[in-house]
C-alpha cells in the first residue's frame, strides 16, 4: 500500500510521511511509551518538577499568610491569579477545538496532533482551575461556590458569573477528560496487547476495559466519539464566553462590553494553538515524529493562529471604537489610559504580540519554518498573558471615582505562583508522554488505510 500512500493530501504537503504501514505506525508510537526515555525527557521533567516545588512552596506560604503576600490591592482586587486563570483556560481550548471541531470538519490533519493537544488541554485546565481557588481570601471554603446540601439551607448566588465559571470550567474539564479517555481506549488495548510487563498489562488492561476491536464496538464507539465531538464543540465556545462574562457582566469600564465573549474565544483558540505549536516543535524533533506530525500540520496550525490572531486584533480595534463611539467618559478614559497611562507598555505589548506578530504567517516560508513557528508561538503566549493583564489591571486601577485610583505592583510571590503553575503543567505533560501514546495510534492506522485507498 505504501506506493499508494504517496498520494498527498490538499495543500501539497502530506499529513503522513509516505511508506508507513499499520504495523510501523503502531510500533513507532507505542515504542515511545515502552522504551526508556531520552535524556531530554529527564531534563524537561526535572525542570517541570522543580517549578512544581516552587508552586507548592508559594502556595503553602500563601495559605499560611494570606493573599496579602501578593500585590493585589483595592481597587485592583483581581490581578495575577485571575490573569493566570484566564490565560491557562484560554490555552486549554486548543485541544478540544482540534479534536472536536476539526473532527466535525473532517480535517484529517488533526489526527496526529489531537491526542497530546487534548492532554495539553486537560493539564492547562487543571492549572487554570487552581487559581480561582487560591486567589480566594479564604481558599479553604471554596466549595461554598457549589450547590450542595447543607444544614443552613444556603445556596450559591447563581446570578454571579463566578458561579457560572465553576460550572463551565468543571463541565469543560470533565467532558474533555471523557473525550480524551474515549479516544484512548483502543490504544490502551494496543499497549495491553504489546507490553511484556505484567504490571503494565494489568494497568493498561484495566484502562482498556476489555476492548477487543470488535466491529460492533467500533460502530458504537465511532457514534459516541462523534456525539462527544458534537457536544464538545459548543462547549469549547461557551467556556471562554462565560469566562469573558466575568468581565462583561461587571460594570467596570473596560470590562462592561458585549464583545468580550467572542473576543475571548478567539483569543483562547489563538493562545491554545500557540501552546500546541510550542509543544509540537520540540516533541516531533526529540521523538522523531516528523513522519506523523509533518510541516502540513504546522502550516495549518499557523494558519489558524493567523486567523484567530487577526480576530483578536479586530477585538482590540472594536474596544477602542466602542469607547469612542459610546461617548461614555469612563470607557473613553480607560481606552486612552491603556494607550498612554502607567501600563501603556502592556497595551502596546499586546498589540505587537497578538495583532501584529501573527501577521508574519501570511508568509508561507515562515509558516513552514519550525524556528519561526516556535518563536512566534512563544511571543503569542506572552502576548495573551499580557492581554489579560491589560484587561484586568488597567481597567480596575482607574475606574469611576478618581479618588480611588491606585497603581498595582506585583510581588515576587505573584511571579513564583505563576511560574510554579507552569511547572505543574510541564510535570503532568512529561508524565503523559512517558506513559500514554502521545499520538492516537488507531487513528493513524485509519489514516494509513485511508491513504491506501
Amino acid at each position: 500500500m505504501s506506493d499508494h500512500a504517496t498520494t498527498v493530501s490538499r495543500g501539497g504537503l502530506p499529513v503522513l510521511k509516505p511508506g508507513h504501514t499499520f504495523g510501523s505506525v503502531t510500533d513507532k508510537i507505542s515504542s515511545i511509551v515502552q522504551t526508556r526515555q531520552p535524556k531530554s525527557w529527564w531534563f524537561g521533567f526535572a525542570v517541570g518538577f522543580t517549578l512544581l516545588m516552587l508552586f507548592l512552596y508559594t502556595t503553602t506560604y500563601l495559605l499560611a499568610t494570606g493573599i496579602g503576600i501578593w500585590g493585589t490591592n483595592i481597587p485592583t482586587g483581581w490581578a495575577f491569579p485571575i490573569i493566570n486563570f484566564v490565560w491557562w483556560i484560554g490555552i486549554g481550548h486548543a485541544g478540544t477545538f482540534i479534536s472536536a471541531i476539526l473532527l466535525l470538519l473532517k480535517q484529517e490533519w488533526r489526527t496526529s496532533i489531537n491526542r497530546f493537544a487534548e492532554a495539553m488541554t486537560l493539564f492547562a485546565v487543571s492549572c487554570a482551575g487552581l487559581f480561582p481557588l487560591l486567589h480566594l481570601g479564604r481558599p479553604w471554603v471554596f466549595y461554598w461556590l457549589m450547590p450542595y446540601p447543607n444544614t443552613m439551607d444556603l445556596w450559591p448566588q447563581f446570578r454571579s458569573p463566578l458561579v457560572w465559571d465553576v460550572f463551565a470550567v468543571s463541565t469543560y474539564a470533565t467532558v474533555s477528560l471523557l473525550f480524551w479517555y474515549v479516544g484512548l481506549i483502543p490504544d490502551m488495548a494496543t499497549l495491553r496487547d504489546r507490553t511484556q510487563n505484567r504490571f503494565a498489562q494489568i494497568v493498561y488492561g484495566m484502562l482498556a476495559m476489555g476492548w477487543r476491536n470488535s466491529a460492533r464496538h467500533w460502530h458504537r464507539y465511532q457514534m459516541a466519539y462523534l456525539l462527544l465531538a458534537g457536544l464538545a464543540t459548543p462547549l469549547v465556545l461557551s467556556v471562554h464566553s462565560i469566562v469573558g462574562m466575568d468581565f462583561a457582566v461587571a460594570i467596570v469600564p473596560g470590562w462592561h462590553s458585549t464583545i468580550f465573549p467572542p473576543y475571548f474565544v478567539a483569543g483562547a483558540i489563538f493562545s491554545g494553538f500557540a501552546m500546541v505549536v510550542t509543544l509540537t516543535v520540540p516533541l516531533r524533533w526529540l521523538y522523531g515524529l516528523q513522519d506523523f506530525v509533518t510541516l502540513k500540520h504546522l502550516d495549518n496550525m499557523a494558519k489558524v493562529m493567523l486567523a484567530t490572531g487577526s480576530m483578536v486584533g479586530y477585538g482590540y480595534a472594536c474596544e477602542v471604537f466602542y469607547a469612542y463611539y459610546s461617548g461614555n467618559p469612563f470607557e473613553r478614559y480607560i481606552a486612552i489610559d491603556r494607550m498612554l497611562g502607567g501600563y501603556a507598555w502592556s497595551y502596546w505589548g499586546i498589540v505587537i504580540c497578538n495583532a501584529l506578530a501573527p501577521q508574519l504567517f501570511w508568509v508561507r516560508a515562515i509558516r513552514r519554518n519550525v524556528i519561526w513557528l516556535f518563536v512566534i508561538s512563544l511571543i503569542t503566549q506572552t502576548g495573551m498573558w499580557l492581554e489579560r493583564f491589560v484587561i484586568i489591571v488597567t481597567s480596575l486601577h482607574r475606574d469611576f471615582l478618581p479618588s480611588a485610583w491606585h497603581m498595582y505592583y506585583p510581588t515576587i510571590w505573584d511571579f513564583t505562583e505563576f511560574l510554579g503553575s507552569i511547572g505543574l503543567f510541564l510535570t503532568l505533560f512529561f508524565l503523559f508522554i512517558r506513559f500514554l501514546p502521545m499520538i492516537s495510534i488507531f487513528e493513524l492506522r485509519e489514516l494509513v488505510s485511508d491513504k491506501s485507498e
Binding site: T26, T190, M206, G210, Y221, Q222, A224, I242, F442, E443
Partner: protein, 179 residues
C-alpha cells in the same frame, strides 16, 4: 448436528481489511449470523457487512442532555425562588437570563456522560475476559491484522464445515477459539 461444547467458535485471520470485509459478506450470505469482525481501526462497512445496522446511542445521549438541562434549570429556579428567596442587587428572584449559562453547561455534561456510559453499556464493557483473547495471534488485532469469528452458537455452525468455509475465504490462518 452436534456442536463440541468446548469450542467458542472459529477465527480466521486476514492481512487486509478488504479481505475481512469480503469474508464477512460471504459469511453473511452463507447464512452465518452469530459472528463478529475484528480490526485494528474502525473498518467502514464491516458492521453492516456483519448485519449490524444501527445503534440507540443518539437517543440515550439526547435523554441525558435533556435531564441535565432540565434538572439544572429546576435547581436554579428552586434555589432562587423557593428555597432561598432573597433580594440580590434588586434583581427579580426568577432572573432567567442569569440561569442560562449553567443550564447549558449541565445539559452538555448530562449528554456527555450519557454518550460515554451509553456506549460502554451497549458494548457490554468493561469486560476483561473474552474467549477471543485465548488465541495468541489475536494480539495483532490491535496492530495490523483483521479477524473474523464465527461463534459456535450460530445455528449454521459446524466445526468441520465452518472451518472448511473459512478456509475457502483464503485467510492467513484459521484457529479454534476456546471458551
Amino acid at each position: 448436528m452436534e456442536v463440541p461444547a468446548d469450542v467458542y467458535g472459529l477465527m480466521a485471520e486476514f492481512e487486509t481489511g478488504d479481505a475481512l470485509l469480503e469474508a464477512a459478506k460471504r459469511a453473511h450470505e452463507a447464512g452465518y449470523r452469530q459472528m463478529d469482525g475484528f480490526s485494528p481501526f474502525p473498518l467502514h462497512g464491516l458492521s453492516e457487512a456483519l448485519g449490524f445496522r444501527r445503534t440507540r446511542l443518539p437517543v440515550v445521549t439526547l435523554i441525558g442532555g435533556l435531564l441535565g438541562g432540565g434538572g439544572a434549570y429546576f435547581m436554579l429556579w428552586y434555589a432562587c425562588v423557593v428555597s432561598y428567596p432573597i433580594n440580590i442587587g434588586g434583581r427579580p428572584l426568577h432572573s432567567w437570563p442569569a440561569f442560562i449559562p449553567i443550564t447549558f453547561e449541565l445539559s452538555v455534561l448530562g449528554a456527555s456522560f450519557a454518550a460515554l456510559f451509553g456506549m460502554l453499556a451497549l458494548n457490554g464493557l468493561p469486560r476483561p475476559y473474552h474467549p477471543v483473547f485465548n488465541v495468541p495471534e489475536f494480539v495483532r488485532a490491535s496492530r495490523d491484522r483483521f479477524f473474523l469469528v464465527i461463534e459456535a452458537r450460530d445455528p449454521a455452525f459446524d466445526l468441520a464445515g465452518t472451518r472448511q468455509f473459512l478456509e475457502g475465504l483464503k485467510p492467513e490462518k484459521v484457529f479454534e477459539v476456546l471458551p
